[in-house]
Amino acid sequence: MIYRDLVIIGGGSAGLAAAVSAYDNGVRSILLLEKSPELGGILNQCIHNGFGLHRFKEELTGPEYAARYIKEFKARNIEAMNETQVLKLHEDLKVDVMSSKLGLETIQAKAVILAMGCNERTGGQISIPGDRPKGVYTAGLAQKHLNIDGYLVGKRVYILGSGDIGLIMARRMTLEGAKVLGVSELMPYSNGLNRNIVQCLKDFDIPLRLHNTVTKIIGKPNLTAIEISDVDDNLRPIKGTEQIIECDTLLLSVGLYPINTVFTEGAHGKLYAKTKGAFVDQNLETSVPGVFSAGNVLHVHDLVDFVSMEGEIAGKNAANLILNGRKVVKKVVEVTESNNVGYVLPNIIKVSDSTDSVEFSFRVRKPMKRGEIIIRDGDKVVKSIKAMDLLPSEMKKVTLKTNDFESYNHLFVEVKEL
Protein backbone atom coordinates (compact mmCIF):
# COMPACT_ATOMS: atom_id res chain seq x y z
CA MET A 1 0.00 0.00 0.00
CA ILE A 2 1.13 3.51 -0.89
CA TYR A 3 0.08 6.53 1.22
CA ARG A 4 -0.57 10.02 -0.15
CA ASP A 5 -2.54 12.95 1.24
CA LEU A 6 -4.21 13.74 -2.06
CA VAL A 7 -4.86 11.48 -5.03
CA ILE A 8 -6.09 13.02 -8.27
CA ILE A 9 -7.65 10.71 -10.85
CA GLY A 10 -7.09 11.99 -14.40
CA GLY A 11 -4.40 14.25 -15.87
CA GLY A 12 -6.50 16.48 -18.15
CA SER A 13 -7.21 20.17 -17.59
CA ALA A 14 -9.23 19.54 -14.44
CA GLY A 15 -6.70 17.23 -12.81
CA LEU A 16 -3.69 19.42 -13.64
CA ALA A 17 -5.36 22.58 -12.30
CA ALA A 18 -6.49 20.73 -9.17
CA ALA A 19 -2.95 19.49 -8.51
CA VAL A 20 -1.38 22.92 -8.94
CA SER A 21 -3.98 24.57 -6.75
CA ALA A 22 -3.74 21.95 -3.98
CA TYR A 23 0.04 22.41 -4.01
CA ASP A 24 -0.22 26.20 -3.86
CA ASN A 25 -2.61 25.83 -0.95
CA GLY A 26 -0.04 23.87 1.04
CA VAL A 27 -0.40 20.16 0.26
CA ARG A 28 2.88 18.46 -0.62
CA SER A 29 1.97 14.78 -0.73
CA ILE A 30 0.06 14.68 -4.03
CA LEU A 31 -0.18 11.88 -6.59
CA LEU A 32 -1.84 12.34 -9.95
CA LEU A 33 -2.89 9.18 -11.80
CA GLU A 34 -3.31 9.16 -15.57
CA LYS A 35 -4.14 6.12 -17.64
CA SER A 36 -2.55 7.33 -20.88
CA PRO A 37 1.20 7.89 -21.46
CA GLU A 38 0.74 11.67 -21.72
CA LEU A 39 -0.69 14.40 -19.51
CA GLY A 40 -3.18 16.88 -20.95
CA GLY A 41 -6.24 14.70 -21.56
CA ILE A 42 -8.62 15.48 -24.39
CA LEU A 43 -6.77 18.74 -25.18
CA ASN A 44 -4.03 16.74 -26.88
CA GLN A 45 -6.35 15.91 -29.75
CA CYS A 46 -8.07 19.32 -29.90
CA ILE A 47 -5.54 20.97 -32.21
CA HIS A 48 -7.88 23.78 -33.26
CA ASN A 49 -7.55 27.16 -31.58
CA GLY A 50 -10.03 28.86 -29.32
CA PHE A 51 -8.78 27.77 -25.93
CA GLY A 52 -7.83 30.03 -23.08
CA LEU A 53 -9.52 33.30 -24.00
CA HIS A 54 -10.72 33.77 -20.43
CA ARG A 55 -7.66 32.32 -18.74
CA PHE A 56 -4.78 33.71 -20.78
CA LYS A 57 -6.55 36.44 -22.77
CA GLU A 58 -5.27 34.89 -25.97
CA GLU A 59 -6.40 32.15 -28.29
CA LEU A 60 -4.41 28.96 -27.91
CA THR A 61 -4.68 25.54 -29.49
CA GLY A 62 -5.58 22.66 -27.17
CA PRO A 63 -2.01 21.30 -26.95
CA GLU A 64 -0.65 24.79 -26.17
CA TYR A 65 -3.20 25.29 -23.41
CA ALA A 66 -2.30 21.88 -21.96
CA ALA A 67 1.43 22.68 -22.17
CA ARG A 68 0.99 25.78 -19.99
CA TYR A 69 -0.59 23.72 -17.22
CA ILE A 70 1.86 20.85 -17.61
CA LYS A 71 4.67 23.39 -17.17
CA GLU A 72 3.12 24.71 -13.94
CA PHE A 73 2.59 21.16 -12.76
CA LYS A 74 6.19 20.14 -13.45
CA ALA A 75 7.61 23.36 -11.98
CA ARG A 76 6.19 22.23 -8.63
CA ASN A 77 7.63 18.74 -8.92
CA ILE A 78 4.24 17.19 -8.30
CA GLU A 79 4.28 13.42 -8.67
CA ALA A 80 2.41 11.95 -11.63
CA MET A 81 2.02 8.29 -12.48
CA ASN A 82 1.24 7.79 -16.16
CA GLU A 83 -0.07 4.60 -17.72
CA THR A 84 -1.89 4.02 -14.48
CA GLN A 85 -5.58 3.27 -14.62
CA VAL A 86 -7.77 3.60 -11.56
CA LEU A 87 -9.94 0.53 -11.29
CA LYS A 88 -11.91 1.33 -8.18
CA LEU A 89 -12.30 3.95 -5.51
CA HIS A 90 -13.46 2.75 -2.09
CA GLU A 91 -15.50 4.67 0.48
CA ASP A 92 -12.51 4.72 2.88
CA LEU A 93 -10.49 6.53 0.17
CA LYS A 94 -8.42 3.55 -0.91
CA VAL A 95 -7.73 3.69 -4.63
CA ASP A 96 -7.08 0.47 -6.58
CA VAL A 97 -4.89 0.98 -9.62
CA MET A 98 -3.39 -1.02 -12.45
CA SER A 99 -0.11 0.51 -13.52
CA SER A 100 2.46 -0.35 -16.17
CA LYS A 101 5.18 0.21 -13.57
CA LEU A 102 3.67 -1.21 -10.36
CA GLY A 103 1.07 -3.67 -11.62
CA LEU A 104 -1.88 -3.89 -9.22
CA GLU A 105 -1.47 -1.54 -6.29
CA THR A 106 -3.60 0.26 -3.69
CA ILE A 107 -3.14 3.85 -2.59
CA GLN A 108 -4.59 5.19 0.65
CA ALA A 109 -5.54 8.86 0.38
CA LYS A 110 -6.90 11.49 2.79
CA ALA A 111 -8.74 13.18 -0.06
CA VAL A 112 -9.44 12.26 -3.69
CA ILE A 113 -10.30 14.45 -6.67
CA LEU A 114 -12.22 12.88 -9.55
CA ALA A 115 -11.05 14.38 -12.87
CA MET A 116 -11.66 11.53 -15.32
CA GLY A 117 -13.37 13.56 -18.04
CA CYS A 118 -16.17 12.28 -20.24
CA ASN A 119 -16.97 9.78 -22.97
CA GLU A 120 -18.77 10.25 -26.25
CA ARG A 121 -22.19 8.79 -26.78
CA THR A 122 -22.16 6.13 -29.46
CA GLY A 123 -24.52 4.64 -32.01
CA GLY A 124 -25.53 2.00 -29.50
CA GLN A 125 -26.93 4.61 -27.17
CA ILE A 126 -28.86 6.33 -29.93
CA SER A 127 -30.59 3.68 -31.99
CA ILE A 128 -30.42 3.95 -35.77
CA PRO A 129 -31.92 1.05 -37.73
CA GLY A 130 -29.86 -0.80 -40.33
CA ASP A 131 -26.46 -2.40 -40.61
CA ARG A 132 -23.49 -1.94 -38.29
CA PRO A 133 -20.76 -1.53 -40.89
CA LYS A 134 -17.20 -0.28 -40.60
CA GLY A 135 -17.04 3.44 -41.20
CA VAL A 136 -19.16 4.63 -38.28
CA TYR A 137 -17.09 6.53 -35.71
CA THR A 138 -17.66 8.93 -32.89
CA ALA A 139 -16.36 12.36 -33.91
CA GLY A 140 -13.82 12.36 -31.09
CA LEU A 141 -12.36 9.02 -32.14
CA ALA A 142 -11.98 10.25 -35.73
CA GLN A 143 -10.35 13.35 -34.26
CA LYS A 144 -7.87 11.25 -32.31
CA HIS A 145 -7.00 9.18 -35.38
CA LEU A 146 -6.37 12.27 -37.47
CA ASN A 147 -4.67 14.56 -34.96
CA ILE A 148 -2.62 12.08 -32.94
CA ASP A 149 -2.28 8.91 -35.02
CA GLY A 150 -2.06 10.88 -38.26
CA TYR A 151 -4.63 9.30 -40.56
CA LEU A 152 -7.99 10.23 -42.07
CA VAL A 153 -10.78 7.70 -41.38
CA GLY A 154 -12.68 8.33 -44.63
CA LYS A 155 -13.15 10.38 -47.78
CA ARG A 156 -16.90 10.96 -48.09
CA VAL A 157 -18.22 11.94 -44.73
CA TYR A 158 -21.59 12.66 -43.17
CA ILE A 159 -22.00 13.95 -39.62
CA LEU A 160 -24.87 13.30 -37.24
CA GLY A 161 -25.21 15.91 -34.52
CA SER A 162 -24.15 19.54 -34.54
CA GLY A 163 -22.02 19.47 -31.39
CA ASP A 164 -18.76 21.36 -31.55
CA ILE A 165 -16.57 18.30 -32.01
CA GLY A 166 -18.50 17.32 -35.13
CA LEU A 167 -18.30 20.85 -36.53
CA ILE A 168 -14.58 21.11 -35.85
CA MET A 169 -14.07 17.74 -37.54
CA ALA A 170 -16.10 18.85 -40.57
CA ARG A 171 -13.56 21.62 -41.19
CA ARG A 172 -10.53 19.55 -40.32
CA MET A 173 -11.45 16.65 -42.62
CA THR A 174 -12.40 19.04 -45.43
CA LEU A 175 -8.99 20.71 -45.20
CA GLU A 176 -7.32 17.31 -45.31
CA GLY A 177 -9.07 16.42 -48.55
CA ALA A 178 -12.26 14.64 -47.47
CA LYS A 179 -15.66 15.67 -48.82
CA VAL A 180 -18.02 16.46 -45.96
CA LEU A 181 -21.52 16.09 -47.34
CA GLY A 182 -23.54 17.60 -44.53
CA VAL A 183 -24.52 17.69 -40.89
CA SER A 184 -27.91 16.65 -39.51
CA GLU A 185 -29.22 17.98 -36.22
CA LEU A 186 -32.31 16.51 -34.62
CA MET A 187 -33.20 19.69 -32.73
CA PRO A 188 -34.44 22.88 -34.41
CA TYR A 189 -31.28 24.67 -33.26
CA SER A 190 -27.60 23.77 -33.33
CA ASN A 191 -25.80 22.48 -30.28
CA GLY A 192 -22.53 23.98 -31.36
CA LEU A 193 -21.18 27.48 -30.97
CA ASN A 194 -22.23 29.99 -33.64
CA ARG A 195 -18.63 30.72 -34.49
CA ASN A 196 -18.07 27.06 -35.31
CA ILE A 197 -21.09 26.97 -37.61
CA VAL A 198 -19.61 29.92 -39.48
CA GLN A 199 -15.97 28.95 -39.67
CA CYS A 200 -16.42 25.18 -39.95
CA LEU A 201 -19.54 24.81 -42.11
CA LYS A 202 -20.41 28.05 -43.90
CA ASP A 203 -16.80 28.73 -44.91
CA PHE A 204 -16.86 25.43 -46.84
CA ASP A 205 -20.52 25.45 -47.95
CA ILE A 206 -21.31 22.37 -45.88
CA PRO A 207 -25.09 22.14 -45.39
CA LEU A 208 -26.52 22.05 -41.86
CA ARG A 209 -29.91 20.33 -41.77
CA LEU A 210 -31.90 21.19 -38.65
CA HIS A 211 -34.83 19.04 -37.51
CA ASN A 212 -33.29 16.19 -39.48
CA THR A 213 -31.69 12.88 -38.57
CA VAL A 214 -30.09 9.70 -39.89
CA THR A 215 -32.79 7.06 -40.22
CA LYS A 216 -30.86 4.19 -41.77
CA ILE A 217 -27.28 2.97 -42.00
CA ILE A 218 -26.58 1.01 -45.19
CA GLY A 219 -23.66 -1.25 -46.18
CA LYS A 220 -21.92 -4.49 -45.22
CA PRO A 221 -19.14 -4.89 -44.23
CA ASN A 222 -18.32 -1.26 -45.10
CA LEU A 223 -20.61 1.75 -44.97
CA THR A 224 -21.86 2.72 -48.43
CA ALA A 225 -24.75 5.08 -47.72
CA ILE A 226 -27.09 6.54 -45.13
CA GLU A 227 -30.69 7.60 -45.24
CA ILE A 228 -31.66 10.92 -43.66
CA SER A 229 -35.15 12.25 -42.90
CA ASP A 230 -36.75 15.39 -41.56
CA VAL A 231 -38.42 15.05 -38.16
CA ASP A 232 -41.63 16.53 -36.77
CA ASP A 233 -42.07 18.55 -33.58
CA ASN A 234 -42.07 15.32 -31.58
CA LEU A 235 -38.73 14.49 -33.23
CA ARG A 236 -40.24 11.55 -35.16
CA PRO A 237 -39.11 11.01 -38.77
CA ILE A 238 -41.58 12.30 -41.37
CA LYS A 239 -42.48 9.74 -44.08
CA GLY A 240 -41.72 10.89 -47.60
CA THR A 241 -38.79 13.12 -46.65
CA GLU A 242 -36.17 10.37 -46.88
CA GLN A 243 -33.01 11.09 -48.81
CA ILE A 244 -30.15 8.67 -49.55
CA ILE A 245 -26.59 9.98 -49.21
CA GLU A 246 -23.67 7.91 -50.44
CA CYS A 247 -20.74 8.06 -48.05
CA ASP A 248 -18.00 5.90 -46.57
CA THR A 249 -17.93 7.52 -43.14
CA LEU A 250 -20.54 8.56 -40.60
CA LEU A 251 -19.37 10.59 -37.63
CA LEU A 252 -21.51 10.68 -34.52
CA SER A 253 -21.36 13.92 -32.60
CA VAL A 254 -24.35 13.26 -30.42
CA GLY A 255 -23.16 14.21 -26.99
CA LEU A 256 -20.84 13.47 -24.14
CA TYR A 257 -21.41 12.00 -20.71
CA PRO A 258 -19.24 11.90 -17.57
CA ILE A 259 -17.42 8.62 -16.82
CA ASN A 260 -18.18 7.81 -13.19
CA THR A 261 -18.03 4.02 -12.87
CA VAL A 262 -14.89 4.26 -10.73
CA PHE A 263 -16.85 6.44 -8.30
CA THR A 264 -20.24 4.71 -8.26
CA GLU A 265 -19.16 1.07 -8.16
CA GLY A 266 -16.69 1.06 -5.31
CA ALA A 267 -17.56 4.14 -3.30
CA HIS A 268 -21.33 4.07 -4.00
CA GLY A 269 -21.12 7.75 -4.89
CA LYS A 270 -24.39 9.50 -5.57
CA LEU A 271 -24.96 10.90 -9.08
CA TYR A 272 -27.17 13.78 -10.21
CA ALA A 273 -29.53 12.41 -12.88
CA LYS A 274 -29.44 15.61 -14.94
CA THR A 275 -25.66 15.64 -15.44
CA LYS A 276 -24.65 11.99 -14.81
CA GLY A 277 -21.91 13.57 -12.73
CA ALA A 278 -21.51 13.55 -8.96
CA PHE A 279 -24.00 15.21 -6.63
CA VAL A 280 -21.87 17.96 -5.03
CA ASP A 281 -21.87 20.77 -2.49
CA GLN A 282 -20.46 24.24 -3.15
CA ASN A 283 -16.94 23.01 -2.36
CA LEU A 284 -17.36 20.38 -5.11
CA GLU A 285 -17.26 17.66 -2.46
CA THR A 286 -19.39 14.65 -3.40
CA SER A 287 -21.68 12.47 -1.27
CA VAL A 288 -18.58 10.47 -0.27
CA PRO A 289 -16.70 12.51 2.36
CA GLY A 290 -13.25 13.51 1.14
CA VAL A 291 -14.02 12.89 -2.54
CA PHE A 292 -14.23 15.95 -4.80
CA SER A 293 -15.15 16.20 -8.48
CA ALA A 294 -14.23 18.71 -11.21
CA GLY A 295 -14.27 19.16 -14.97
CA ASN A 296 -16.10 17.02 -17.49
CA VAL A 297 -16.53 14.17 -15.02
CA LEU A 298 -18.75 16.52 -12.97
CA HIS A 299 -20.66 18.06 -15.87
CA VAL A 300 -19.76 18.39 -19.53
CA HIS A 301 -18.13 21.74 -20.27
CA ASP A 302 -17.84 23.67 -23.52
CA LEU A 303 -14.98 25.89 -22.35
CA VAL A 304 -11.74 24.55 -20.96
CA ASP A 305 -11.17 27.77 -18.99
CA PHE A 306 -14.09 26.84 -16.74
CA VAL A 307 -12.74 23.31 -16.39
CA SER A 308 -9.46 24.71 -15.08
CA MET A 309 -11.29 27.03 -12.67
CA GLU A 310 -13.34 24.14 -11.34
CA GLY A 311 -10.18 22.07 -10.90
CA GLU A 312 -8.68 24.91 -8.88
CA ILE A 313 -11.71 25.11 -6.61
CA ALA A 314 -11.65 21.35 -5.99
CA GLY A 315 -7.88 21.46 -5.34
CA LYS A 316 -8.18 24.32 -2.88
CA ASN A 317 -11.05 22.75 -0.97
CA ALA A 318 -9.35 19.36 -0.84
CA ALA A 319 -6.26 21.13 0.55
CA ASN A 320 -8.42 22.87 3.14
CA LEU A 321 -9.90 19.58 4.25
CA ILE A 322 -6.51 17.85 4.46
CA LEU A 323 -4.76 20.68 6.31
CA ASN A 324 -7.51 22.27 8.41
CA GLY A 325 -10.16 19.60 8.85
CA ARG A 326 -13.87 20.01 8.46
CA LYS A 327 -15.90 23.12 9.27
CA VAL A 328 -19.04 22.88 11.39
CA VAL A 329 -22.05 22.72 9.07
CA LYS A 330 -24.96 24.71 10.52
CA LYS A 331 -27.45 23.99 7.81
CA VAL A 332 -27.81 22.25 4.46
CA VAL A 333 -29.68 24.18 1.76
CA GLU A 334 -30.89 22.27 -1.29
CA VAL A 335 -30.52 23.73 -4.79
CA THR A 336 -32.80 22.64 -7.64
CA GLU A 337 -33.23 23.56 -11.30
CA SER A 338 -36.57 25.09 -12.24
CA ASN A 339 -38.27 26.71 -15.28
CA ASN A 340 -36.15 26.66 -18.46
CA VAL A 341 -33.06 25.43 -16.61
CA GLY A 342 -31.75 21.98 -17.53
CA TYR A 343 -29.46 21.53 -14.55
CA VAL A 344 -27.78 23.54 -11.83
CA LEU A 345 -24.74 22.93 -9.66
CA PRO A 346 -23.99 22.75 -6.75
CA ASN A 347 -26.81 20.47 -5.60
CA ILE A 348 -26.52 21.48 -1.96
CA ILE A 349 -24.97 24.30 0.04
CA LYS A 350 -23.40 23.33 3.35
CA VAL A 351 -23.66 26.55 5.30
CA SER A 352 -20.87 27.23 7.78
CA ASP A 353 -19.75 30.44 9.50
CA SER A 354 -17.62 31.40 6.53
CA THR A 355 -20.17 30.78 3.77
CA ASP A 356 -20.61 34.16 2.12
CA SER A 357 -20.63 33.42 -1.60
CA VAL A 358 -21.76 30.58 -3.85
CA GLU A 359 -21.28 30.30 -7.60
CA PHE A 360 -23.96 28.41 -9.51
CA SER A 361 -23.28 26.79 -12.90
CA PHE A 362 -26.25 25.97 -15.09
CA ARG A 363 -27.48 25.42 -18.60
CA VAL A 364 -30.75 26.64 -20.09
CA ARG A 365 -33.03 24.12 -21.72
CA LYS A 366 -33.83 26.09 -24.90
CA PRO A 367 -32.35 29.10 -26.72
CA MET A 368 -33.66 32.45 -25.47
CA LYS A 369 -32.89 35.85 -26.95
CA ARG A 370 -33.49 37.66 -23.65
CA GLY A 371 -34.08 36.25 -20.25
CA GLU A 372 -34.03 36.93 -16.56
CA ILE A 373 -31.96 34.59 -14.41
CA ILE A 374 -33.71 34.20 -11.09
CA ILE A 375 -32.57 32.59 -7.85
CA ARG A 376 -35.40 32.17 -5.39
CA ASP A 377 -35.82 30.67 -1.96
CA GLY A 378 -39.17 28.92 -2.26
CA ASP A 379 -41.24 31.74 -3.77
CA LYS A 380 -39.07 34.59 -2.55
CA VAL A 381 -36.70 36.04 -5.17
CA VAL A 382 -33.21 36.52 -3.71
CA LYS A 383 -31.41 37.54 -6.89
CA SER A 384 -32.33 38.31 -10.47
CA ILE A 385 -30.25 39.47 -13.40
CA LYS A 386 -31.05 40.04 -17.05
CA ALA A 387 -29.12 38.16 -19.69
CA MET A 388 -28.96 38.12 -23.49
CA ASP A 389 -28.53 35.24 -25.94
CA LEU A 390 -28.95 32.29 -23.62
CA LEU A 391 -28.08 29.03 -25.36
CA PRO A 392 -28.18 25.39 -24.18
CA SER A 393 -24.71 24.95 -25.66
CA GLU A 394 -23.22 27.56 -23.32
CA MET A 395 -22.82 26.97 -19.62
CA LYS A 396 -23.76 30.02 -17.57
CA LYS A 397 -22.62 31.09 -14.14
CA VAL A 398 -24.21 33.30 -11.53
CA THR A 399 -22.81 34.16 -8.11
CA LEU A 400 -24.83 34.79 -4.98
CA LYS A 401 -23.03 36.82 -2.33
CA THR A 402 -24.73 37.10 1.04
CA ASN A 403 -24.27 36.30 4.72
CA ASP A 404 -27.82 35.06 4.79
CA PHE A 405 -27.43 31.52 3.48
CA GLU A 406 -28.59 30.18 6.84
CA SER A 407 -31.99 31.77 6.36
CA TYR A 408 -32.66 29.87 3.13
CA ASN A 409 -34.46 26.56 2.94
CA HIS A 410 -34.52 25.53 -0.70
CA LEU A 411 -33.06 27.54 -3.56
CA PHE A 412 -34.32 27.30 -7.12
CA VAL A 413 -32.53 28.59 -10.21
CA GLU A 414 -34.72 29.46 -13.18
CA VAL A 415 -34.82 31.63 -16.27
CA LYS A 416 -37.83 33.69 -17.29
CA GLU A 417 -37.99 34.36 -21.03
CA LEU A 418 -38.47 38.07 -21.76
Partner: protein, 116 residues
Amino acid sequence: MDREFTCIVCPKGCHITAHDDGTITGYTCLRGLNYVKQELVDPRRTLTSTVRVNGGQLRVCPVKSQDTLPKDRVFDVVAEIDKTSINAPVHIGDVVIENVLGLGVNIIACKNIDVK
Protein backbone atom coordinates in the same frame (compact mmCIF):
# COMPACT_ATOMS: atom_id res chain seq x y z
CA MET B 1 -27.78 44.89 -49.58
CA ASP B 2 -26.93 44.67 -45.86
CA ARG B 3 -24.54 41.86 -45.05
CA GLU B 4 -24.93 39.71 -41.95
CA PHE B 5 -21.96 38.29 -40.06
CA THR B 6 -21.47 36.07 -37.09
CA CYS B 7 -18.34 37.20 -35.29
CA ILE B 8 -15.87 34.32 -34.90
CA VAL B 9 -13.35 36.15 -32.74
CA CYS B 10 -14.65 34.79 -29.44
CA PRO B 11 -17.18 32.12 -28.42
CA LYS B 12 -19.93 34.70 -27.82
CA GLY B 13 -20.59 34.78 -31.58
CA CYS B 14 -22.29 38.20 -31.88
CA HIS B 15 -24.49 38.88 -34.89
CA ILE B 16 -23.07 41.88 -36.69
CA THR B 17 -24.60 43.72 -39.65
CA ALA B 18 -22.69 45.74 -42.25
CA HIS B 19 -25.23 48.21 -43.64
CA ASP B 20 -25.36 49.67 -47.16
CA ASP B 21 -24.56 53.11 -45.84
CA GLY B 22 -21.25 51.83 -44.47
CA THR B 23 -22.26 51.63 -40.81
CA ILE B 24 -21.64 48.47 -38.84
CA THR B 25 -23.89 47.48 -35.92
CA GLY B 26 -24.30 44.61 -33.48
CA TYR B 27 -20.77 44.14 -32.20
CA THR B 28 -20.10 43.94 -28.48
CA CYS B 29 -16.44 44.88 -28.61
CA LEU B 30 -13.95 46.47 -30.98
CA ARG B 31 -12.47 43.17 -32.01
CA GLY B 32 -15.83 42.33 -33.54
CA LEU B 33 -15.94 45.61 -35.44
CA ASN B 34 -12.45 45.02 -36.78
CA TYR B 35 -13.32 41.47 -37.73
CA VAL B 36 -16.21 42.62 -39.92
CA LYS B 37 -14.17 45.45 -41.47
CA GLN B 38 -11.51 42.90 -42.38
CA GLU B 39 -14.10 40.37 -43.57
CA LEU B 40 -15.55 42.93 -46.00
CA VAL B 41 -12.25 43.57 -47.77
CA ASP B 42 -10.04 40.51 -47.18
CA PRO B 43 -11.42 37.56 -45.18
CA ARG B 44 -8.67 35.83 -43.20
CA ARG B 45 -8.52 32.71 -41.05
CA THR B 46 -6.11 31.08 -38.63
CA LEU B 47 -5.19 27.58 -39.79
CA THR B 48 -4.42 24.64 -37.53
CA SER B 49 -3.18 21.33 -38.87
CA THR B 50 -0.60 18.62 -38.20
CA VAL B 51 2.82 17.94 -39.67
CA ARG B 52 4.70 14.63 -39.85
CA VAL B 53 7.46 14.12 -37.29
CA ASN B 54 10.56 11.96 -37.86
CA GLY B 55 11.96 10.05 -34.90
CA GLY B 56 9.59 11.50 -32.31
CA GLN B 57 7.48 9.98 -29.56
CA LEU B 58 4.46 10.95 -31.62
CA ARG B 59 3.95 10.60 -35.38
CA VAL B 60 2.48 14.02 -35.99
CA CYS B 61 2.81 17.41 -34.36
CA PRO B 62 0.00 19.99 -34.22
CA VAL B 63 0.87 23.27 -35.96
CA LYS B 64 -0.80 26.63 -36.54
CA SER B 65 -0.37 29.70 -38.67
CA GLN B 66 1.23 32.33 -36.47
CA ASP B 67 -1.15 34.91 -37.86
CA THR B 68 -4.25 34.79 -40.06
CA LEU B 69 -4.01 33.71 -43.70
CA PRO B 70 -6.12 34.85 -46.66
CA LYS B 71 -9.16 32.57 -46.56
CA ASP B 72 -8.83 31.54 -50.21
CA ARG B 73 -5.21 30.42 -49.71
CA VAL B 74 -5.89 28.11 -46.76
CA PHE B 75 -6.10 24.96 -48.91
CA ASP B 76 -2.79 25.81 -50.59
CA VAL B 77 -1.12 26.17 -47.22
CA VAL B 78 -2.50 22.81 -46.06
CA ALA B 79 -0.92 21.24 -49.17
CA GLU B 80 2.43 22.81 -48.22
CA ILE B 81 2.19 21.48 -44.68
CA ASP B 82 1.33 18.00 -46.01
CA LYS B 83 4.55 18.05 -48.07
CA THR B 84 6.64 18.92 -45.02
CA SER B 85 8.10 16.82 -42.22
CA ILE B 86 10.17 17.86 -39.20
CA ASN B 87 12.64 16.10 -36.93
CA ALA B 88 12.20 15.48 -33.21
CA PRO B 89 12.72 17.00 -30.72
CA VAL B 90 10.07 19.65 -31.36
CA HIS B 91 9.41 22.63 -29.11
CA ILE B 92 6.35 24.83 -28.94
CA GLY B 93 6.93 27.86 -31.16
CA ASP B 94 9.49 26.19 -33.46
CA VAL B 95 9.08 27.51 -36.99
CA VAL B 96 7.96 24.60 -39.19
CA ILE B 97 7.60 26.60 -42.43
CA GLU B 98 8.92 30.12 -42.66
CA ASN B 99 6.89 32.67 -44.63
CA VAL B 100 4.65 29.99 -46.11
CA LEU B 101 4.00 30.53 -49.84
CA GLY B 102 5.32 34.07 -49.47
CA LEU B 103 2.21 35.07 -47.53
CA GLY B 104 4.25 36.64 -44.75
CA VAL B 105 3.08 34.15 -42.11
CA ASN B 106 5.04 31.37 -40.38
CA ILE B 107 3.69 27.92 -39.57
CA ILE B 108 4.74 27.06 -36.01
CA ALA B 109 4.67 23.98 -33.76
CA CYS B 110 2.08 23.82 -30.96
CA LYS B 111 3.50 20.94 -28.96
CA ASN B 112 6.70 19.70 -27.35
CA ILE B 113 7.65 16.29 -28.75
CA ASP B 114 10.64 14.35 -27.44
CA VAL B 115 12.88 12.02 -29.37
CA LYS B 116 11.67 8.41 -29.40
